[in-house]
Amino acid sequence: MIAAMIQASTTTADIMKAGLMEEIFSERTLQATGPFMALSFGILLLVLAEIVPGLQLLRKLIFIATLGVAGWCAWKTIGAPEAWVFEDTYVANSTTGWWTMLFLAATFIAWLFGQRYYKAESALEGEHDLLMMSACAGMVLMAGSRDLLVFFVGLELLSVPLYTLSAFQRSRRESVEAGLKYFVLGAFAAATYLFGSALVYAGTGTLTFKAINPADLGGPLVIAGAALIAASLFFKVSVFPFHMWVPDVYQGAPAPVTTFMATGTKAAAFAFLVPAAAALLPYESKHLAAVIALVTMAVGNFGALVQTDLKRLLAYSGVAHAGTLLLAIAALQGEPGPDAAMRAVLFYMAAYVFTAGGAFGLVTMLESQTGRAVTIDSIKGLAAKRPGIAAALALFMLSLGGIPATGGFLGKYLVFSLAVRSDLLVVALIGIVLSVVALAYYLRVIVALYMQPEMDGKPVPTQARALSGLVAFACAVMVLALGLVPAWFLDSLR
């Protein structure tokens, strides 16, 4: 439906444009908007399933089928030539195709881990799936948008469901608190974004990146606006100083939602942050961005060092990873250029989605099985009882720490090579030191898993859940595949 609105808006936006009809119903447009359309129809079907009594039973089928169709559409855009549609407000190319695949994967992972997680709210699982799918649609829209308005629609389509999902366990104090915190700060960020884009619009006279006249970029309005937009996006990707909400929300929200937030939201925000920064940020912002990146890495890593709750630890590590990715944004202004940065960020996020997705997913499983928060203590000696789970978790930790032969290493490698190439050598070195700090706490988890005896009186259920185990295994395979045989992925980006 959002697409319909956009069409309405753009049609009215410049009425003098002729042949709009042909354009809207052209092969190109349908291909470009395919994934989003598929998801939109999926949403409608899910609503229908809630209305028509019998359809309830088909809900899961509809969900999976929709993701499948959307994935197929996205797959078709990957090879295809770049398609700019709706007056250059929306683009579909290999990169956005891969981003879409990534969002679908994140959604699917979170959804699978969410099965049988909710007890009191099991009656509302229909709404849960519905909200998740609309959030996914929002991400797709965000990744493809090259226009401030379209992105805003996508952003809200993602955020509003997420507010609701974080507070999904209405009876749990923590869940509601997480939802409220996320909502209040998110709404603030949205307002900031709006005011920023209003200023940019005032300064440039357009909302579409392609239509911006470079001569206008220097103006005070545009710079102020760009700064505000950057701030709001930094909130979404949890960059210092907008990261305080992350640990609380991740800890409080239902674990599947946390999985979804940690992987999908961040990916979507970065998918737009790169082109937006390329279009709006002036060259001078390079060093500022680099500094923010370093501070973020520092805050995240040192924050994580002292955590005992695994969700919080992963949350802080997510902050640190956002900082690392911000290095790529900083390097954007340098020699390698936006495309290289986009590739690096995409690869990094791809690795991160499967790594963090798997890690959070396992936490989800343990949490729902033991019925209490998963801490460093509670996973002690897990390797003896659940070798498979422990091995997967250890692998994910190594990948988060960027040890070679995992996707995490190659992602970090690409980002740091960007920094080195755009002569941010010192920054890269400091970043390296910080990532050693990061290893310290990833190792703590592995130590607890393998090298410490089980705590008394805290039995870990010995049988894994078949489904969750399978998903975790798939994630592990992807992490290794991205680390060992990345050719198929990297080549398709060029």
Partner: protein, 124 residues
Amino acid sequence: MLADYVPILLLVGVALGFALLNNALSELFGRKRKNIGKADAYECGMEPRGSARIRLSIHFYLIAVLFILFDVEAVFLFLWAVSAEALRAQDMAMLVLYEIGVFVFVLVLALAYVWRKGGLEWDR
């Protein structure tokens, strides 16, 4: 430039002055008789009973929120309304009609959902 605003300022000044003046005058010259009838809250002649802070049923808020949502969605029809003429000028009227149709269909679906979930039932 800013001088353009002087009339507005004057208007504000006059309004304030008038109100204050009248109050001050009545304070000065009005004669004051105090009794209970004047002291307590005025409610259309009948004396108030019960606390003013009674809790309303949650459904009240629910209906209100739903109303706001569906009401505000109507705003998108304005776009259509204002540009209908120009759209017909370049025979895209039908296209946009379809689009609005899709849009309204979605709203109807949402309404049906709310209905099905009992959001509209008052006594429950």
